[in-house]
Symmetry: C2
């Protein structure tokens, strides 16, 4: 969580880190709406102006949370990816470990969603500001595809990871709306979706659906905020 490097931190770095830590803890405990700038400032023992000096906006603080979550996603997914070379299984691993990271935030998911969904929000996972955390997930999907034994037609290789990341975002969207206990419906949706993909895979390799699927992928893969 907090870096504990050996170089002594400057006063500024300590203040910034303190604000960051206070904010992230509050986001986890109280969610987005209840975590007000004034509350963060108070708990960190600084003024409102200081938090805005170190983080230009409240959303910049959420960005820090994103990074934490995505790093945890990678840490959870990578070891599991070593255990299978089946494409669909590997995709399932990335999706499932991704959902697992979100779990604790479900009570506050609507607040975060509302703040992040606008294409103009820096919090948007598809925005330029979120490139760093987004790329972590895209890389996970790239690895998942690349490490599978039956590889897909080469023409899919470039765009597929970005499209899968989008699929993951859609799954997360479903998850936000999922009020079943422990969001088990989302997991069921994922299982059934993956089963459908497994069944459809031969069709994709065959000629019939390949062209229209390819064209769909073209459009979807370059969605940006």
């Amino acid at each position: 969580m907090s870096s504990s490097g050996s170089i002594p931190l400057s006063k500024s770095e300590r203040t910034r880190g303190l604000i960051r830590d206070v904010a992230l803890r509050s986001f986890r405990e109280r969610g987005y709406d209840q975590t007000t700038i004034r509350l963060i400032a108070h708990e960190a023992g600084v003024s409102v102006g200081t938090t805005n000096y170190h983080f230009a906006s409240k959303n910049d603080l959420v960005q820090e949370l994103y990074l934490d979550v995505q790093e945890a996603h990678r840490a959870a997914a990578e070891p599991l990816l070593a255990t299978s070379d089946d494409l669909v299984d590997r995709l399932g691993i990335v999706f499932r470990t991704g959902l697992a990271q979100l779990g604790p935030y479900h009570p506050f998911a609507p607040e975060f969603l509302s703040a992040a969904v606008s294409p103009r929000s820096s919090l948007n996972p598809l925005s330029a500001d979120s490139t760093e955390s987004r790329d972590i997930v895209v890389r996970l999907f790239r690895d998942a595809v690349a490490g599978a034994k039956d590889s897909l037609p080469a023409e899919f290789h470039d765009d597929l990871p970005a499209a899968l990341m989008l699929a993951h975002l859609l799954l997360a969207l479903f998850w936000v709306y999922d009020s079943s206990p422990a969001q088990e419906r989302t997991l069921r949706l994922l299982d059934r979706g993956l089963r459908l993909v497994k069944l459809s895979l031969p069709l994709v390799r065959s000629r019939l659906l390949r062209r229209p699927l390819r064209e769909l992928l073209d459009l979807v893969a370059e969605v940006r905020a």
Copy 2:
């Protein structure tokens, strides 16, 4: 737009109608964020408190806009539905006329999306508060399916309209993110998606994919805010 019944309106009804008209015009011209309560009050010549007396929240005013838009959707779709009995064509009509209604709002789409996407927002199309306008669209899809010559397996009939309405929401989501001129990419996505559906339809009727598709539909069809 404004109803022009013959019964003379009470003072209260006139005030309410005035606020409504001023607000809707402003939403269309200035979008969601720039349309402040104080601005509406000022343009309607009433106080801030009065607008909140007639409409408990700003979102209640957007709800009125929704109804206008969905009524226009129905008015645009119904005559066109009489011109074809091909299932995919009919779906295309409902999707396309739906997108056409949104067109003028695209510059402000992110603002509206952010306000509407939270499952806890009354503005959410899947919320109880939006039942009226949502049902207009669901009925359109029901008609589109029911009036097609090659009907689908009966087991799909119940849930399909709700699932199609969800698909329409997803298409609208894509549309919000679509910055191509006149959002032509969204139309292309729709065309390609429909072509894929047309190609896949025989597969759905056949046994292979029917069961998993059915199960997916079960989960998706009952998504609610």
